[in-house]
Assembly symmetry: C2
Homo-oligomer: 312 residues x 2
Amino acid sequence: MTDLVDRAVGGDPRAVARLVSLVENGSPDLREITARLVAHAGSAAVVGITGSPGVGKSTVTSALVGAYRAQGRKVGVLAVDPSSPFTGGALLGDRVRMQDHATDRGVFIRSMATRGHLGGLAWATPQAVRVLDAAGCDVVLVETVGVGQSEVDVAALADTTLVLLAPGMGDGVQAAKAGILEVGDVFVVNKADRDGADQVVRDLRSTVRLAERAPGDWRQPILSTVAARGEGIDEVVEAIAAHMAWADESGEAQRRRVRRARDEIEAIAVTDLRRRFAALHGDERLDDLARGVLAGELDPYAAAEKIVAAVS
Amino acid sequence: MTDLVDRAVGGDPRAVARLVSLVENGSPDLREITARLVAHAGSAAVVGITGSPGVGKSTVTSALVGAYRAQGRKVGVLAVDPSSPFTGGALLGDRVRMQDHATDRGVFIRSMATRGHLGGLAWATPQAVRVLDAAGCDVVLVETVGVGQSEVDVAALADTTLVLLAPGMGDGVQAAKAGILEVGDVFVVNKADRDGADQVVRDLRSTVRLAERAPGDWRQPILSTVAARGEGIDEVVEAIAAHMAWADESGEAQRRRVRRARDEIEAIAVTDLRRRFAALHGDERLDDLARGVLAGELDPYAAAEKIVAAVS
């Protein structure tokens, strides 16, 4: 294990891949791995990239990788598929676009499916980010589909979150409904050469304008890209840098990092609690309690107390 | 509190509304409320309705309410907005469509924003469903936006989950990527009068055909609707009934209900753990641990152990 971590810290792509797999599979060695990685991590800029299916997340991510590589920065990409807990298999059809960078030693690309549903993304993603961070990535791009919880989870773990939109994916009211204003630091309207792109930009602009802000708060820029042709990507890179500079200055960066560490600690504590309970009573005991609740024999609070009491 | 529960069980809409608000706000009275509700709940059929923004979830939900009312069944609607944890405010712009049913005493409509991000939906939604169930609803429709975690959470709590799609929201590969096959029991292609609807149906059909199944497994039907005109809704109601009959027969219904109860118990245990820790050490202590992890002074597992040890 020590050897594996040393090799990953040294930048060996196979060691990095292996560590991300161990994270994904919830390996019992994670504890030791994490303890060793912590000292080497903490310097990467983490960028979350999210949006509905079809907006072109992979294309934008791939273009950003190219732009950061042109700056000589080492880049990690983590493609998180939060919606396949039942098979545990990621369906990442358009991951092929990333093959432009497949032979570049300065780029690590890993995809990951998050298992289970209570805090799946919250639990595994920060650990995988830490692996890429410790392996010397200057920038880690975390791409995930979604407008719901997964988006919120990505925003929670990123230093800067990009929300991607595209024309024809639902109008501005829908965008507002999905709560993206509260999640995104930078908005990118991709496929900007298509009909309706101007309207998406206008709707976003009026929504951003209406949002309440204190003096000194960040005002989300709205950028347009045609990522498939590389158009507008440099401006996105600049906007990310501007947001990170603002976040450092204002203390927001530190606040987010503390929150991220808290979330990770809590997620680990929960898993630990569950494991202790299963070790003491067998996994079947929780099912028995669940059946008792279903039968109306006890309430879920009483059942939860039994669990907490059992491990205390 | 006893009085409030009694009135809700008796079908008083104001008492129901008040209880859902108490759930939403994480009231300290929840424990007592839940203990009283459990004996009255357990008979409602819970239908999850999910899909990307713009597919017409509210229109389909409203049409389903009408269909169930025509059968003389009492209906509860819970519109869950999982993506506004930062403001805590639900942006339910198209909730207006529900106003068709606003004066019908046989329909309870509540919207709810889920707070915080670790297990937000998993925590509050089953409790709100229990309120509507205990208030005598035969059917509870839980509507939520999203293709990520929120969708998975809805699938976990529903007896039957409808996944809605519409033309122009991304192609079939994207649908597969979003993992909807693993979440949906019934697929509904809404806005079926629009260009591209046939293609969405074809893509879905070939994806469903390719999915691995054991003999006796449920084969997801793919239905087309124009919900704004009520077209295809009766077929959706029939498909839901067919799925529920299959689930009862096969034992899947009971498995889902046990899993749901387990999830709820665990979510309560986690919250309890967090509360105990904060009571013992103050909320600031967790921040201190988080800062220690950020500084590389301790690893998150060691921090989590301190939390669990502190409440043991």
